[in-house]
């Protein structure tokens, strides 16, 4: 399950709904990761663009990977502006066993950061500035820049 929302996430509602969805699925461990926008460098908000077709296929590959371990991944992300001290990202893993869950949430969140086609902007004095310095080139980047 991949959920996209305009603006900040309703964290308690999402955590509760995901928990209750799987309450009787006999998973022993549920680990959500909640990302909240920090007040730093005088930003008012972060803002996000998402390219959904590739996000969908990236997420589907992770659903399969988790499924092979008897686990399940779910994710929610914001599109557009997310003010400081509100949340833009929740990922969660359900698994029968805790080790699988602890390892999977770590790998998932790190791969999300490195690969998910989402672009972040700082909102400062109403201006939307690409967060270039905190962004990561997707694996294989530069293909079109290598020519002679």
């Amino acid at each position: 399950m991949l959920e996209l929302y305009s603006g900040p996430l309703d964290v308690p509602e999402i955590l509760k709904r995901w928990y209750e969805n799987e309450e009787n699925s006999n998973y022993g461990a549920y680990i959500p990761f909640v990302g909240t926008v920090r007040a730093e460098d005088s930003i008012e908000a972060l803002s996000f663009d998402i390219y959904e077709p590739i996000l969908d296929s990236w997420f589907k590959a992770w659903e399969e990977k988790a499924g092979q371990k008897g686990a399940k991944v779910v994710m929610a992300h914001s599109i557009g502006d997310v003010p400081v001290h509100t949340s833009s990202y929740i990922a969660a893993v359900f698994s029968p066993k805790r080790r699988v869950a602890l390892e999977l949430i770590d790998e998932f969140v790190e791969d999300f950061k490195a690969s998910a086609p989402i672009w972040k902007y700082d909102i400062i004095k109403g201006e939307r500035i690409y967060a270039k310095d905190r962004s990561t080139c997707i694996k294989g980047s530069g293909l079109l820049g290598e020519v002679k």
Binding site: G35, F48, D49, I50, Y51, P53, I54, S57, H77, S88, Y89, V109, F112, K113, A114, S115, A116, P117, I118, W119, K120, Y121, Y130, A131, K132, R134, S135, T136, C137, I138, K139, G140, S141, G142, L143, L144, G145, E146, V147
Partner: protein
């Protein structure tokens, strides 16, 4: 004709181009100075699948997307 789309922070309208392979796309786009840095740092998808070779053949109606550096969460 193929269509080239620039995602996220690349402030550029889509282009319709004649191209037989990704190499043709690379040749055409590298003539645009504003795109130079984006070409070095962006990943490339053909019809929404990330690719890693310039030798990929293109067909009429294909969609090529440039994905600049990402930062979700």
């Amino acid at each position: 004709m193929v269509r080239v789309e620039f995602l996220g922070p690349i402030q550029k309208e889509s282009l319709e181009l004649e191209a037989k392979s990704l190499r043709d796309i690379a040749d055409i786009l590298s003539q645009d100075d504003e795109l130079k840095e984006w070409l070095r740092t962006s990943a490339v998808a053909v019809n929404d699948t990330l690719v890693s070779s310039l030798d990929i053949k293109l067909n009429d109606g294909d969609k090529i997307s440039l994905l600049p550096p990402v930062c979700g969460g």
